[in-house]
Subunit: 289 residues, 2 copies
């Protein structure tokens, strides 16, 4: 690959930003990675771990020579970061993000960048672990994972292509869809499951027999609740940013639970087995993908 | 260890029964393992895989020389198996089971064994995978796993000790509690999570965008829904056998979900973060156990 990108600036060097930096370094996609963030100790750690080549705590300073700026901060911080970098960006710079909800980020970007928002490409890497922070970052996080780009109507196609190439260099497979569709799909496949897992652990934690409950939990429970160890701030932000779609999905899930509960109330084994069989079939198909 | 047990008969040589057979063979706990079940092809497979030394399709024939009989069949089949073996058991034989709900099994055992039910020790190995069948069985399944015994008031203590030794020989750690307490704790820690996972997959499977939803699912979703690949018949049986406790737990969970939904409705980020933080703290403590 001919290196055509000099500098990638990554704002927010946690699991998502840090892993991207490591993967881009390994691939030789760019000459230099500049890290930026609020907390200097985190940036120092990122430098020490070889995640970034240089760091800045001033966002405007950090982005001024960047060809690509990746904003990998919690959704609630996006708007503020966009506003701070807007005046300092070069006219050819492309900005992208890694947020888990896309309509809200696009609104924030359009407000902050105005006419230059055609150089903003909303993106979401479908990858992550329940861990967070730069020490959790690793080079292979995006290998064979999907990244969804949700360009708006005014987005420049060369900007989309550049962001696409960047994620491919990191090992990911890139797909495009509308932000609206993304938010609905992710509400089902990621946001609802996280809420259900947080809810289950909190629910069990309120039982009198809480110690017993956790003591006799087996592998299934461990797997099922792993995502309840995810970052609470990040998940509050996702919930608030994708509120409508998530509320719709919770409603659907409540109806589903009510259906199971009614079958159980009536000791209707046939109805239960029908639900469980449909679910098993779908889950087994998913496993075999 | 001095071998004091000649013959263990395992009725139901699936994942649970088959793995116990393999572990007991490895440990030298008994001289001989007799398998029994409804389906001869399964038993032939068990013999071929070295899981059992001998098999019988007639339950009475299978148990007649057994020192210990382990009934590892679905909960709905327990009563029938108990009734079939009752007349053929030797007076010193100890019977135990591996069902996931205990009050219903004890009722079935007392009905079938009558006065001899003092030689029945209800038990539940907290182990398993989402797979089932003898080909899924493996020697290490019970290593460092907990087995809960729930002896009734009339259970002989030497019978409890023998079953305890058997599970310890298979690598497990044995604990005792009342059947009532077991069923309540397991409703929270295992039965509810399985219902939630089956429910989520079925709920998503009903969406119009079902292909998209599964296509963009990441590792968190994979872990969260793994248990939805579990055996539907087994889970129907567990639901029906532990109906009251599970209904109570679903009700608690519905209240929890309603609490999250209300917070989201009100865009109350503080309330959301409080729930997520409590859950993360509890889950992290569980991980560090």
């Amino acid at each position: 690959m001919t290196v055509k990108v000099q500098t990638v600036c990554i704002i927010g060097t946690g699991l998502i930003g840090g892993s991207l930096a490591l993967a881009l370094k390994k691939s030789g996609f760019c000459q230099r990675i500049v890290g930026a963030g609020r907390t200097e100790t985190t940036l120092m750690k990122a430098l020490e771990l070889g995640v970034v080549d240089h760091y800045e705590t001033d966002y405007a300073e950090a982005v001024k020579d960047a060809d690509i700026v990746v904003v990998a901060v919690p959704l609630s911080a996006m708007k503020n970061v966009f506003e701070k970098i807007a005046p300092a960006l070069s006219s050819t710079a492309v900005v992208t993000d890694a947020g888990s909800a896309k309509q809200s980020v696009i609104r924030d970007a359009q407000a902050a960048f105005g006419e230059s928002s055609n150089r903003f490409v909303a993106g979401h890497p479908i990858a992550g672990t329940e861990k967070s922070g730069v020490t959790a970052a690793f080079t292979e996080l995006y290998e064979n994972r999907k990244v969804i780009l949700t360009p708006a109507e005014n987005t420049d196609s060369d900007a989309v292509n550049l962001v696409s190439e960047m994620w491919q260099a990191a090992g990911a497979e890139v797909e495009s869809m509308s932000a609206q569709h993304h938010d609905m799909v992710l509400a089902g496949t990621s946001h609802l499951p996280h809420i259900l897992a947080f809810g289950l652990v909190d629910c069990l934690n309120n039982l009198e027999e809480v110690d017993e409950v956790f003591r006799f939990a087996a592998g299934g429970f461990r797997d099922f609740t792993r995502i309840a160890s995810s970052d609470p701030v990040m998940w509050r932000d996702i919930c608030l940013s994708n509120r409508e779609d998530i509320l719709g999905m919770i409603k659907k899930y409540e109806d589903q639970l009510q259906m199971i509960s009614s079958a159980l109330q009536d000791s209707d084994g046939d109805a239960l087995i029908e639900i469980f069989q449909r679910a098993k079939k779908a889950r087994d198909q998913f496993s075999n993908q």
